[in-house]
Amino acid sequence: MKKVTCWLLLLSLVTLLLPAFAVAEGTVTLEWFMDYAALPSKWNLEEPVFAGITQATGVQCNINMPAEDASTKLNLLMISRNLPDIISTSDGDLRSELIAAGLVWDLDELLQTYVPESHLFANFPADLKKNIIDRDGGWYCYPSHMNSEGYESIWGYCDEDTAEFYKATKYDNRNSIFLRKAYLDQLGIDVNTIRTEQDLMDVLQSFNDAGLTNTSGASVYTMMVNGDQTVWLTMDGIIRNTFGAMPLTDDGQYQSIFYTDEYRDGASFLNHCAQKGFLTETHLIMDEETLVSLANSGRVACYIGPFTTLGSGADLNDVWVSPGAITPDSGATPVLPYNAGMYTGWLNTMVSKDAKDPAACARFIDYMSSREGMLLHMYGVEGVDYTWDGPCLVRTEEGMGKIEDGVTGIWGFYAFQDAYFPRSVEHRSLDKMPPTMAYSLTDNVVVYDASPFDIPAGYVSENEDMAFIEIETNNYLEATLPKILLAPDDQTFNDQYDAFLAEMTRLGRKDYDAYLNVKVQEAAEKRGIELKPVN
């Protein structure tokens, strides 16, 4: 036993002393902290992507990506005044905290000082910059996956088809009512005949009565919702929109959406499904894994919710169809919230004021956001991972296999993925309208600008009372609404719903709404949007 121990100790000490991957001469090493990425744990100069970046910028990064609880870790680093050089975080509250405390560089200043010829001054769209400045009080962050029309004129589309594609799918809405084509065909129903709530109910009833089974003979669920996320995904994703609910009072003040009659109607629809037996307890406690496996094995006839839950294979577009926006029995008009105000980024990258080499940080950001840099870290090496076919590039087999593999770094630097750049190099064409488009293409749908309802990060959490009310009421919502959906009859449903609203108010939700209203009105005024409910 002792011998084994000794050998084990020796072995472990030896492994500790194993040389680290070679550090290139004359490069600066930066500490880069991030929430998400598909990168290897070490900056591997043997891989062309990393070597290319280091060659162009003289920078290597120590990638610090905690397995979980990244925000706590960053908080701890903040407290000990040991911030990493570059910080990429998806946490809005943390971002606003860092900015408010003056711990990060203003990017304009940083670039002016160290990289005055940076392409970013020309290539960063003015409208996005303005939005970020509105959000943060200055240009402190470089965002990822941003959505801005300004980008169209900077990167453009690589060819006509691609331009067509993106224009047509502008209102792609992932949430909808989806029906499995095979079962519709089996019962001889044409999806285009489903126009109203009653139509849908009839179809569900037919599914139920037909006693459907899938190819292996297992029973089929007439309908399916997002199980334990029904409140957040199903109700908030699609039901409220189909039934025309908007989070406004009649005179244009913000209110929590469940106070509206339209939302109530939507809940009532689900309740009717439950009364008829299509929706049961089993549905409301189901976790997503089970849901996905059921849907994919053909055991779901009608799915209401976000399409992304079902997976991401292209063939899914053939399996499911959507009737689009059905008209509720109440006669309300379906709506579609569209965030025309830009989406200001998923990961936001900032440079710490304490960074020892701000010049290196500046060079790094400049390169990673440039065309050359993005081609490298998003697509790889020309000739090896992709080739040019006219104005558009095509990935090679090898290149396809390397996407997000966490080894080569290709498609792994999420913090520097520009949402529009791929449109300028990759060809997309519109062969078929995916079912997710059906909703927005329905005639009577009204699209409304939902950007005023984007509450700036940190606004709620910096007010402890409001943060508290938010937790309490959200918990109450989560725990109570599913029970109400299972009410045995309309009378009980209405009584329980009334009691639910009363309790919400008692818990302080109205005060919370008033608090949020301030920001909503501000934002609406700034954008010149009139707040008026459609129904």
């Binding site: 500790l16 990506m65 701890l76 000990s80 989406y343 949402a419």
Partner: protein
């Protein structure tokens, strides 16, 4: 002469109960193994397998071991476990021995200190600051130095045990002029093999499975422990799958750009494979520890 086997009612019932226990205990692990050997996309699309893999695939296991970083992590974890366990055993039992002597002065003070340290904690912020100031943040020693002492909980367990050793042994040793150290090492420790083995098992498993130290107190990937490496591997897969489905905060741009991974692994199968790989050493050590749970350790020492 062979002893006749007594097949009385009790033995039969016991056998039945034990069989039930074994089945209930082994099935979950079996379930984990077969699912880790199942193709990931198949698991996502059709659910977990109950009895046998539907589509056999070693890819989840490969994914766990393919990164050479796992060897470094293994080295760190193994060395840490051995050093910490040995140190804890010595320091904690020594402390407990002294604490268990009824003639110890200031016993109440030590007890108060012990219970305070066990129950009241200053929280992660304070601990982090302390370790930073001590220069332990992001070094190998952060795994060793704060864990040299096993905690008052273990002290109590040892103490209970030590108090049970009959006083005659101590008295005769003291009459012989033996020091407390001598009594501790030559009398008390050998008689406590069972409890030491038990606590050693708890300590080894605890240290082996720990990942929060890596999470909060290191940032260098050279220093990650095995468990942390695994958590990271699994989380990054799971996080991505989650983001693709996150409806509320992301635009369709993010979704469009985060391609679904095609693979034959999924977060689920990966998690299972990793969990099993990490657990194997732990499962293997238990039979060694069991050797100490034999009866009659004390037999012969008094009469001698």
């Amino acid at each position: 002469m062979k002893r006749l086997k007594k097949m009385d009612l009790f033995t039969i019932c016991n056998a039945l109960i034990m069989t039930l226990v074994v089945l209930l205990s082994v099935y979950p692990l079996y379930y984990a193994v077969i699912n880790s050997l199942n193709d990931g996309t198949d698991t996502t699309n059709f659910g977990m397998v109950q009895l046998w893999p539907r589509q056999f695939s070693l890819d989840s296991w490969r994914m766990v071991v393919k990164d050479p970083a796992i060897l470094t992590a293994l080295g760190i974890t193994a060395s840490r476990t051995i050093i910490v366990t040995v140190c804890q055993l010595i320091f904690t039992s020594m402390f407990a021995y002294a604490f268990s002597r009824p003639y110890l002065r200031f016993r109440k003070c030590y007890a108060a200190l012990g219970f305070m340290s066990m129950y009241i904690s200053g929280g992660i912020v304070a601990t982090f600051l302390l370790l930073s100031k001590m220069g332990l943040y992001n070094t190998y020693w952060v795994y060793i130095i704060p864990s040299l002492f096993g905690g008052f909980y273990n002290v109590i367990i040892y103490t209970s045990n030590f108090r049970g050793i009959p006083d005659e042994l101590f008295e005769s040793a003291q009459l012989d002029g033996a020091s407390e150290y001598r009594i501790f090492f030559s009398i008390v420790l050998p008689l406590s093999k069972a409890v030491i083995a038990a606590l050693a098992v708890f300590t080894i498993v605890g240290v082996w499975n720990d990942y929060t130290t890596s999470l909060f107190y290191t940032s260098n990937t050279e220093l990650q422990t095995l468990q942390y490496y695994i958590v990271k591997l699994v989380r990054s897969e799971a996080a991505l799958e989650q983001i693709v489905k996150d409806n509320s905060s992301l635009s369709s741009e993010v979704f469009a750009l985060l391609y679904g991974r095609n693979s034959s692994i999924s977060a689920r199968t990966l998690e299972l494979a990793a969990m099993i790989i990490a657990a194997i050493p732990m499962i293997a050590i238990y039979p060694f520890a069991q050797k100490f749970f034999t009866k009659g350790v004390l037999l012969g020492s008094i009469k001698g």
